[in-house]
């Protein structure tokens, strides 16, 4: 086995199941599309691996890529519902600022994910992943920091900046009341 193939094989066996599950959960359980995302993520990762600085682990990079590509697909298939969750991030607050319905309420979480898909257009992979984990999936800033190999302060800064941008974007996107 060639060295590149051997490394691909090792990373795939170790991380592809997690990438697939991440994509599947964001894509509403669509396994076929999640498989496509998994494949695209791994091929994309190996194309850019030489440019990576090594600051983040392979898991972190792959997880963010899976999140980004899944949300991008959601965005492409989305139809504007006219309903946006209010976004606010309190830097001093330990838990999620936006309390979504319980984790069992899958429909509400899908709705929130769709909202975030629209609001995160143009954001980088790390910011998008932070926003999704925090606003749609209820992670604390510490849990996001642990997941993405960054400091809690970095997460808070990214969320605060994102919330400010998203608020302006939401104002533009929210449909006016029919008169």
């Amino acid at each position: 086995m060639a060295p590149a193939t051997a490394r691909f094989d090792e990373l795939y066996r170790r991380f592809a199941p997690a990438v697939f599950r991440r994509a599947k959960s964001l894509l509403g359980g669509d396994e076929a599309e999640a498989r496509d995302v998994t494949q695209d993520v791994f091929l994309g990762y190996f194309k850019l691996e030489a440019k990576l600085t090594g600051a983040a682990s392979a898991f972190t990079v792959l997880y963010q890529m899976a999140t980004y590509q899944s949300v991008d697909r959601l965005r492409r298939r989305a139809r504007w519902s006219g309903r946006l969750q209010p976004l606010h991030h309190d830097e001093e607050h330990e838990g999620p600022a936006l309390q979504l319905p319980s984790p069992e309420d899958g429909a509400a979480r899908v709705e929130a994910t769709h909202d975030l898909a629209l609001l995160t257009k143009g954001e980088d992979e790390q910011t998008l992943t932070c926003a999704l984990l925090y606003f749609a999936e209820g992670y604390t800033t510490q849990e996001i920091a642990d997941t993405l190999d960054v400091s809690r302060k970095t997460v808070s800064r990214a969320l605060a900046a994102f919330a400010a941008r998203a608020t302006k974007r939401a104002e533009r996107l929210t449909p006016k009341e029919a008169t």
Partner: protein
């Protein structure tokens, strides 16, 4: 995370992949140690990962990495050839020196992928169809050398792994799923498949002769497991 709060899915994934360290690792391990429910989540995640890798092995994706300009359908051309009884050899397992002793039994499991993409574990005597893709998983007591041999309904003997190879190839128990995939040909009837395992490398010609004579493969120092299916 507090004791009451479930381990976030992403952190559990990272833990399952062996990628957590430091305080985050300690927090997850504390939560797992104190909660059977969290431990069950982890077990379920690992089982799901194993199933995923059976259904979506790295070989086809790696092939695209090696030949990015090749059109997508080109990868499947060899599978057309397999309908005539040939075999795709994706990659050989890494070579590793065998242990000095063998304890425990050997086992062979076959997974069938149907045309619609679904995967199932084959049970002894199960009906299969020409064109079904099959992969093998080996259970062995340690590193060694393996071969997968077959005798089909026309009593023809074939070496499935390594395909048409003259001798057994190295086996790493950490990678029990063999990289070789076969597509079943159109020879109908009962087909028996044998896994042959040994601590030392061994030649396959004497074993193939036994199969052609209607006997089972057997030699000193070798362990054998078998399965069979009916092709209709």
């Amino acid at each position: 995370m507090s004791d009451q709060r479930p381990i976030p899915q992403a952190l559990l994934e990272r833990y399952a992949a062996g990628d957590l360290s430091g305080e985050a690792l300690e927090r997850v391990e504390r939560a797992l140690a104190s909660s059977p429910a969290e431990k069950a989540r982890l077990d379920e995640l690992r089982a799901d990962s194993a199933a995923f890798l059976v259904q979506q092995p790295p070989g086809p994706v790696a092939a695209k990495l090696e030949a990015p300009a090749r059109p997508r359908w080109m990868f499947w051309v060899p599978l057309v050839a397999l309908a005539a009884g040939l075999l795709v050899f994706i990659a050989a397992p890494p070579v590793e020196e065998p242990d000095s002793s063998v304890k425990g039994a050997v086992g062979l499991t076959a997974f069938r992928q149907r045309a619609d993409g679904t995967v199932e574990t084959l049970t002894r005597g199960q009906l299969v169809r020409p064109g079904d893709a099959v992969r093998f998983q080996v259970t062995a007591p340690g590193p060694g050398f393996v071969a997968v041999l077959s005798r089909d309904g026309a009593r023809k003997a074939t070496t499935y792994h390594p395909f048409n190879g003259p001798r057994a190839v190295a086996f790493d128990p950490k990678q029990p799923l063999l990289e070789t995939a076969i597509a079943l040909d159109d020879v109908k009837g009962r087909e028996t498949v044998w896994l042959v395992f040994g601590q030392q490398a061994f030649e396959l010609a004497p074993l193939m002769k036994q199969l052609e004579e209607g006997r089972e493969p057997s030699a000193a120092g070798l362990s054998v497991a078998s399965l069979e299916w009916m092709k209709e």
